[in-house]
Amino acid sequence: MKLKPFILVTTPLILAGVGAATGVSVHERRMSGLPQLGYVSCIHCHQRGLDTLPWAKPRPHHDAPGGIAVSPDGKTLFIALDDRDEVAEADLASFTVSRRTKVPGGPFGLALDAVGKRLFVACRNHDRVAVLDTLDLKEQASIDVGIRPTDIAYCKTAEGERLIVPNSGSDDISVLSVSPLLELTRSAAGREPYAVAVSGDGRRVCIANRMAVHDQILSQPYSEVTVIDPASGHILAREALQSAHLAEGITDVPTRGWTLNSVVRVSNLVPITQVKDGWVMSSGVAIARGNGEVTQVPLDEANAYFPDPSGVVASPDGKRAYVASAGSDVVTVIDLDKLAAWLAQADEAERGGAMVNMALSYRYVVARIPTGCDPQHLALSPDGSRLFVAERLEDRVLVVDTASLKPVGRIVLGDGGLDDPIRLGERVFTRARYTFQGQFSCRSCHPDGHVDGLSYDFDGAGVGDNLLANRSLCGVAGTEPFKWNGKNPTLQYQDGPRFARVLMRTDEIPQPQLDQLATYIKHLPPTRTIPWSRVGQPLTPAEERGRKLFFATKRTDGTPIPRALQCQTCHRPPLYTDRLLTSVGTKGSQDTSGVFDTPHLIGVGAMAPYLHDGRAKTLEEIWTIYQTDDKHGVSSYWSKLQLNDLVEYLKTL
């Protein structure tokens, strides 16, 4: 009969299948340390190499303008092209690029000396400042500064010429002497110092810090404006822009003694459902009038928003200010006389509540100038007659006649990269048009794809409920699922229907743009947290000790660490995540679940605050304050030296 051969054939197969399944299950449990797993595949742990990830592969480069600087004679515009490792020189008579020169290291911030003979270039990718002779555009000198310098300012002091460099990645400020080119001081800034402005008398330099800080999880965040004496390098003041983040533009207002900051006032502790009410993020300008008081006034109007304010400049006569809104592709023109008049008559309560007064901006906003995509850096000609707007994702610089407030030309640097899906995705990322009334863009919370340092209240019933820490998008390719609860399997899902429902409060991003957005995000490389000079170098002894601790399978006394509690089990290299849900004993009173998606650790040194709700301000606090019964790794046996070593290692990932 035929049944017997069938049984003879199928039984071993079934047994083999059952055995294999059992073996796989045992293997999964043993290696993950988790007794019960839902769906898990081999690739949760057996990940691809980093070199196969999108961000590690070659990609097209573009002529995106970064910082711009106008020569003292007004005839030349210098343009930093960080994605090309070049600096371009444009003739302002013809609006054409006259020369380009190679400046390795992602030139991003520019400054000229008083006579325009030397061009100082902050190279964001190589952590250095280069000095170029403007005659031949040859590099004359270079000096290392902090991590990711984004801007540079030149000033003359009684002690000599100075360069002030905000180092966005190391949260500090380099003060350099020019002759000789030396770093005089390195002072702590706020968080992510980004832009710098010199006062008219050259005695004060103000640095805008882009990322917010908050002293406690439920405290009001603020961005710092760091004020420095350029002669001595001493810190003069640290002014707080309350509730502000993304403060990435700053300028001095000649004749008034004011400093203007572009800011986003964020209400991260109110439920994100309030987006529909229009006050989760308000874009505006902060005015420090030198009397210790800072007033924030809106750029926004009722039902019209101008998000992601970036570059800001003031006219030489102090009459006007121009603010680029990168999210809405607009430059707003502010009449400073009118603003001063309003400030003079407004009482303290009015000034304090100005930022959310949607009926205020008409008092001082005199024009909105449309621009190309993603206007960021601005510059004015020395006489104030021309405004230059770096349209970053257009590869162009817009030239505006400030008398008529009309465009008079464009300096074309490249083709805009419209055939590059990554570039197209970046346009989606930076544009606010996809959110409710265009209030904010992806970049509003993820500048450069990274974090803004805040925790947001997602869908909770009251203030401070269900706080979730913002997570960096840099280096997320391959780390799916997404969201702290791990419910979003793909970026398209995360940024499509879910994003529309929870954040955008409007229609989903159309599928083609959604795909482009996902492509862009997947190509965001991890944030570099070590100096460029250390890239590729061996670990320091402390970092090496920390590495051994991270991969330790036994405690110092030789007793084994359970597999589930070894760092490497959940934070499995090369992505340093097993992409599974795990409980590490951090369930808060408002959390519905104690299991959270294991975050990847690449670039973790720059991702503070930590844990799912951002309760840990530093990496140390994860184990010193918020560790519970060795559930987040076995740390109870660590000496302070060992914890320090581990932290130093983590900062290198």
């Binding site: 001081t185 390195r186 001595s232 001493h234 810190i235 003041a237 402390a542 301000k617 302070k640 320090n644």
Partner: protein, 382 residues
């Protein structure tokens, strides 16, 4: 302000009076032989107490910053003397990590102040405090006894080791008995030397660390005993170091067992104990060095010395100042002053060529030096 008006002349008169009336001493014979003192002499004290706006009796430390402002560490917060002479207090509500301030150091590069407290290290920068604790940073322990800044590194002496914070890299490097030659991890004082750092260790003597070479060298009490100083001038006076100071090639060790000095150029030690030497008391809370002169803050006043000549300031029973002057090879001189230290229990001193400030257990004293002309008069006009 509790100021006791006086003048250098009054002090001079006091000295002359004492000398001329001292048994066995002939002032007119003694004074012409007396060379000008090689160390500054306080002619008058101005005192400040809680009545003058100080936030506490006890002042642990004093620092005159590069911008001329005077900073005080008290048991009730940090305090600055403002331009108008009033005192402004900073407490926990301002962001200071703890009320008890044990040490203050200035970063000459940035102008930032680093403040050692009993619950962490605070940085005061641009008017804002930032707290570094053992839970939010690499600080070894929250009880910070001393702090110093040298060449871009902040050194914090804590109850569980010394922490070195690299201002550029933001990395902490802890030093304790597991990675240095420290006998114990209990650090009490820090003194930047010439290319090296001196760590005053409680029960471990002094550890010299060269950060560039990564080397350590321990200076230990040669007899190794707490109950005795076997010989004089042979090494640290004891292993229980309460403070260290360095300037001009001279390292000073304060302890509760006496004072020691190490001349780093000659590699020689000298030691002083009370009763056998002019040192006013063995119980030395701290030592401050300016040039080759040390100011030892003791429980019975202040001893000022260059190692050979001594000037001691004490508070007499009548509340007046008592000054003892010991010149090498000459009998000690005693004079009274119309003014005195605010309290004899002195915690710390800051001094330069022009003035001295004394943090005491009961108030702040400002020592106004006698002028060179006064000094000349002291030696020529009986």
């Amino acid at each position: 302000m509790k100021t006791q008006p006086s003048s250098p002349f009054a002090a001079l008169f006091g000295l002359v009076f004492v000398l001329s009336h001292a048994p066995g001493m002939n002032a007119s014979a003694a004074l012409p032989e007396t060379a000008p003192l090689p160390i500054p002499v306080v002619a008058r004290f101005e005192n400040f107490t809680e009545k003058d706006g100080l936030p506490a009796h006890k002042i642990h430390c004093v620092l005159k910053a590069g911008d001329g402002r005077l900073w005080l560490g008290t048991t009730n917060g940090l305090c600055v003397r403002q331009d108008n002479g009033t005192f402004r207090r900073f407490g926990i509500e301002d962001g200071l990590s703890h009320l008890t301030v044990l040490g203050i150091a200035e970063d000459p590069a940035t102008g930032d102040l680093w403040i050692a407290t009993m619950q962490g290290l605070s940085r005061l920068s641009g008017g804002k405090f930032t707290a570094f604790t053992q839970t939010n940073s690499g600080l070894p322990n929250n009880v910070v006894y001393g702090v110093a800044v040298a060449e871009g590194t902040v050194w914090a002496a804590t109850a569980a080791g010394t922490g070195a914070y690299d201002i550029k890299t933001k990395a902490w490097k802890p030093y304790d008995q597991t990675n240095t030659v420290m006998n114990e991890p209990w650090c009490y004082g820090i003194a930047p030397g010439r290319g090296v750092i001196y760590l005053g260790i409680w029960a471990g003597g002094i550890v010299e660390h060269d950060p560039r070479l990564g080397t350590f060298k321990a200076y230990r009490d040669p007899d190794g005993e707490f109950h005795i100083a076997l010989t004089a001038d042979s090494g640290p006076i004891v292993d229980v170091t309460s403070g260290v100071a360095y300037d001009a090639g001279v390292l000073w060790q304060a302890s509760y067992f006496g004072l020691a000095r190490y001349d780093t150029q000659e590699a020689t030690w000298r030691t002083w104990v009370q009763d056998k030497t002019p040192l006013v008391s063995n119980f030395i809370n701290s030592v401050f060095a300016h040039g080759r002169i040390a100011w030892a803050s003791t429980d019975q006043g202040v001893s000022v010395t260059n190692g050979d000549t001594w000037v001691n300031y004490q508070v007499g029973k009548d509340g007046k100042g008592v000054v003892h002057i010991c010149r090498p090879g000459q009998p000690p001189e005693t004079r009274t002053m119309a003014t005195a230290l605010s309290d004899g229990f002195v915690m710390a001193v800051w001094a330069d060529d022009h003035e001295a400030w004394f943090a005491t257990s009961n108030g702040l004293s400002h020592g106004l030096f006698s002028s060179p002309a006064d000094q000349a008069a002291l030696t020529s006009n009986p």
